[in-house]
């Protein structure tokens, strides 16, 4: 159950029916898909017999159906999650039929007159019965204070979890409250500084933790799990599928690291206890590697055998390895990798970013940082002829231009080779990456131009 966040702070306001002691251990395990497991261990005072224990400082977005309380020598009668909030209007509404104290203030003298009144109705305005008179509260606009005797039982400043238990004997128990909550999440953020001189990168990795759950977790032992456990969605099925993206993982790795695991998920425990404040973004370092060899290249993809209106920039690609040898030497949790490069004055400048998925150690990553200003490709259908009913021939031309003062190699890739497609003739040898794609490594001289032509035969 998700509740709208009415306000953003954790409450220490205790309506204590059973007192919590300060000896409390909080551990928070955060998964990648907006899910966290909170385990709250503390000593509780339990009386003999039936009683209600309230937990106000739980996540404001708690999924109440996942709550479990365990403590020795108690049995649980029921669990309730109250989300009727204490507001002035609710307070008045719950007072209908009951006595309140009204204090009239004389505007001239400031003198106070106290009277007892019964609330009759709160529809649009408050109707009071004072003695035998009926009166509308502050109908004349003069100041009148209304004083209530108590707060109704189930009105709360914050959504509150309460558990009714039966204690077999009075005393202190060591209890564990655990529940799942959305609103806590983490991802990795990487910073890669590319050195153009020697083609090496320095990479720093940070885990970034965000808390929008509406509650602060004080002094919590925090464990991050690089994985997205399956969740059964209570609501409508989410049928949205994002469009396919350029695959960043070129070669999946086969090396094992020495990080802790949970099942097949890698674990990133934070070394120290930390306070995860509400609406806070927190970052902790987990990777710092220097001088990893990286390659810089260009890539262009023509989605189908079609003509582009204008030359299109090639993508600027950086690729490197995550292997223990000449690589980052770690598995990388999913996140965003930002590339920086030093300008002529030596200041690092941002040159683009790319998202990566969970990447095993020993993989080769190839990340696009953006369009190359000076390297462009113009794909043109020169001719398309029908050879027979299901047989077509397409003549393609790819003009690759380079306005850089150095020679570059551009990977020109033709995607969308549907059906039974074959390259009949070509001006240079292509690599057939798959049934659907062919690729040429095109050498383009400095401030120059190169052209590749190819004839495709496609049968349906």
């Amino acid at each position: 159950m998700r509740l709208p966040l009415i306000s953003m702070a954790c409450s220490a306001w205790l309506l204590a029916t059973a007192a919590w002691s300060a000896d409390r251990t909080l551990s928070v395990t955060i998964y990648n898909n907006d899910l966290a497991l909170v385990q709250d261990r503390r000593d509780i005072e339990v009386k003999d017999g039936r009683q209600r224990i309230e937990f106000q400082d739980v996540s404001a977005q708690i999924r109440p159906e996942t709550v479990s309380l365990s403590a020795p020598d108690i049995s649980i009668v029921e669990q309730n999650f109250d989300f009727d909030l204490l507001t002035p209007a609710k307070l008045m509404e719950k007072a209908v039929g009951q006595e309140v104290t009204i204090v009239r203030v004389n505007p001239a003298t400031g003198a106070e007159t106290r009277e007892q009144a019964q609330v009759l109705a709160t529809n649009g305005g408050v109707v009071l019965k004072i003695g035998q008179r009926i009166e509308v509260l502050r109908d004349d606009g003069l100041p009148v204070r209304v004083i209530f005797n108590k707060v109704p039982d189930n009105l709360r400043a914050r959504p509150t979890l309460s558990v009714s238990v039966i204690g077999t004997h009075a005393g202190t128990r060591h209890a564990t409250l655990s529940y799942l909550t959305p609103g806590l999440g983490w991802k990795a953020d990487y910073v890669a500084l590319y050195n153009e001189g020697d083609g090496k990168i320095d990479v720093q990795g940070w885990v970034t933790l965000t808390n929008s759950s509406g509650t602060t977790y004080d002094n919590a032992q925090t464990l991050l799990v690089a994985g997205s456990p399956g969740q059964v969605d209570g609501g409508a099925a989410n049928n949205y599928r994002p469009p396919p993206r350029r695959s960043t993982l070129q070669v999946p790795g086969t090396q094992s690291g020495n990080r802790e695991r949970l099942g097949d998920y890698y674990l990133y425990p934070l070394a120290e206890r930390t306070t995860i404040a509400n609406l806070q973004t927190k970052q902790v370092s987990f990777l710092d590697v220097h001088g990893v060899p990286a390659e810089h290249g260009y890539e262009f993809r023509n989605r189908w055998l079609g003509t582009a209106e204008m030359p299109v920039s090639a993508q600027s690609i950086y690729s490197f390895s995550t292997s223990a040898h000449a690589g980052l030497g770690d598995q990388l949790p999913a996140g965003i990798l930002r590339f920086y490069m030093k300008d002529k004055r030596g200041d690092p400048q941002f040159i683009g970013e790319s998202r990566i998925d969970h990447t095993p150690m020993g993989s080769t990553l190839s990340l696009a940082t953006g369009d190359a200003f000076d390297v462009k490709v113009h794909a043109v259908v020169e001719k398309r002829t029908r050879i027979s009913t299901f047989d077509w021939q397409t003549d393609m031309r790819y003009d690759v231009t380079n306005a850089l003062p150095r020679a570059v190699v551009v990977k020109v890739r033709q995607d969308g080779l549907w059906g039974d497609s074959s390259v009949k003739t070509e001006s240079q040898k292509s690599t057939r990456l798959s049934a659907e794609a062919a690729e040429w490594n095109v050498n383009v001289p400095a401030n120059g131009k190169a052209t590749v032509t190819a004839t495709f035969e496609t049968r349906y």
Partner: protein, 539 residues
């Protein structure tokens, strides 16, 4: 909340055996040596910036002095840009071990004060309107849910500002709320030290574009091209005395949500229904109240406020260009102040006497309905020989033409990123004097008619169906002859097989290039051969 944190803090100290002197708050000195690099909106290919919606971003680098005591301290960097993407923040130069870095999104605001005071003791302040005497009553805030405030005093439970008397709270100082966006770092240092620390981060709410002015010469054969770099900052934070540069080129940006900043709001103090016997019907009241509520809640974040206060134009110094990987970096030569909500212009280039050819033309669609006035373009190649040969970052172009010794605006168009040696085309808008009309003359060809149009060289027609004969007429009401380009947008795979004019190709599309003499009309006839059943129609 603060009380709870303290208890937890003591628990922590006891558990780990560290002396009770917990985290010390250290405020970093204000930034010096600011470097701001502005990147344009990643999905805008051409055109100028929109001051109301700056979708670009900037890399901000600043240097600050930090005085660290021994032990664990929380270093607070106040006054970072409100559009900061906290996950991109990098801090270098800190001694010892960085434990963690944090960005707290909650700013000091009336509602945040109440929210952080829930459950704590506050002082209620009531003032008599007549006498002006104030009464201070100790109490506890019970709830601030739903925009109303309920508190408890010795007298009982009451709601704030429902009595009709002036009421407010006196708060204790809230240590965990900052007035300005703040980034903090927890660091452990073995001994007290003073360091210079570099902080860099990406922030939203910036943008830039190149704004060109193209001035045509009297004879229309040359153009003077000047350009400004227009950059703007919609953040509530200014950058005084900064090294400013802009980066041209399209960067890959992942569409990541930025954690919002909670700018807070007023204390609403909503009451119980306060209708009186002379009130308008309730549903009207409810509506107006909810509208009021919406209005006060939806106070815009500082970064979203579109009103830019100041526009500064400087022209003496041009930006200096350098290569940054596959991007182009333009450096503003002197330190400058990029103030909060300000747009600024710096000269990008001034190139004069660029030879251009003037072309009239039209893109003709398959359905032949796309006729009407032709467009006029000036065209040149971006080379040194043409007095250019510079990368041209994308932006807008205002074209001016001479009239009576003055330069008047003729058209505004857009320019994409143009690399050196590429063709540059500037649209001069529609030309009502040059009209293009087209129609399909025939849809079935008998053999007698088919011979009217000569075959396009290289085409051999077997018994293949020929779609139709199209006739396009170009009329010229100008007193001078024009060069005309008719670009055909026929489906890929279709081709022109017969025509009475020479056929060329440009960018993979068939094109007719011909002259239209002064005050004359030229007709072009052509026949296309279709793509049959249309399997290869591309999306």
């Amino acid at each position: 909340m603060r009380a709870a944190a303290l208890i937890a803090g003591f628990g922590f100290a006891a558990a780990t055996g560290i002396a009770a002197a917990a985290t010390q708050e250290v405020l970093a000195e204000p930034p010096s040596n600011l470097i701001v690099t502005v990147y344009r909106a990643p999905y805008r290919d051409s055109g100028s910036i929109d001051l109301d919606e700056l979708n670009g971003f900037a890399l901000v680098t600043e240097t600050r002095i930090v005085r660290l005591p021994t032990g664990v301290s929380r270093v607070r960097f106040e006054g970072v840009a409100d559009g900061i993407e906290p996950s991109s923040a990098l801090i270098t130069g800190l001694p010892g071990k960085v434990v963690e870095k944090n960005r707290d999104a909650r700013l000091l605001s009336p509602s945040a004060l109440v929210a952080s005071a829930v459950g704590k003791r506050v002082e209620l302040l009531r003032t008599d309107r007549k006498t002006g005497t104030s009464q201070r009553v100790p109490g506890t805030i019970l709830s601030d849910a739903g925009g109303g405030v309920v508190f408890k005093t010795a007298a009982g439970i009451e709601a704030l500002r429902c009595s009709g008397m002036p009421e407010t709270f006196g708060f204790e100082p809230a240590a965990n709320l900052s007035a300005r966006p703040t980034l903090s770092v927890e660091v452990r240092t073995p001994s007290a030290v003073t360091r210079q620390v570099t902080l860099s981060y990406l922030a939203r709410g910036f943008d830039w574009a190149a704004d060109y002015t193209a001035t045509l010469s009297q004879d229309g054969k040359h153009v003077d091209l000047g350009a400004w770099v227009t950059l703007a900052n919609s953040n509530g934070v200014g950058f005084p005395g900064a090294h400013v540069q802009v980066v041209a080129g399209k960067l890959n940006r992942e569409n990541d949500e930025v954690e919002p900043i909670d700018v807070g709001g007023p204390i609403l103090a909503q009451c119980w229904p306060l209708g009186s016997t002379s009130d308008q019907p309730m549903f009207l009241r409810e509506e107006s109240r909810s509208r009021m509520f919406m209005k006060s809640v939806a106070a815009p974040a500082p970064a979203a406020m579109g009103v830019l206060q100041e526009i500064v134009v400087t022209g003496a110094n041009k930006v200096q260009q350098e290569q940054l990987g596959d991007l182009k970096l333009y450096r503003v030569p002197e330190r400058t102040t990029l103030a909060s909500r300000q747009s600024k212009q710096v000269r990008l280039m001034d190139q004069s006497g660029i030879p251009v050819t003037t072309i009239y033309g039209l893109d003709l669609d398959d359905d032949a309905d796309s006729t009407g006035p032709a467009h006029r373009w000036v065209r040149t190649k971006n080379t040194v020989a043409n007095h250019l040969g510079l990368p041209l970052p994308s932006g807008s172009v205002a074209v001016f033409g001479p009239y009576n010794g003055e330069q008047l605006l003729q058209h505004e168009s857009e320019l994409r990123d143009v690399a050196v040696d590429e063709e540059v085309e500037i649209d001069l808008g529609e030309s009502p004097d040059v009209q293009v009309s087209g129609e399909v003359e025939e849809t079935h060809i008998d053999s007698a008619h088919a011979k009217v149009l000569p075959l396009v060289p290289g085409v051999s027609l077997r018994s293949v169906k020929v779609d139709n004969v199209q006739r396009v007429e170009v009329s010229n009401a100008r007193a001078a002859g024009i060069d005309f380009e008719l670009r055909l947008r026929i489906p890929e795979g279709a081709r022109v097989v017969r025509t009475d004019h020479p056929l060329g190709t440009k960018n993979g599309r068939p094109i007719f290039r011909f002259k239209v003499p002064a005050n004359q009309t030229v007709a072009v006839r052509f026949q296309t051969q279709g793509i049959g059943d249309g399997i290869l129609r591309t999306p």
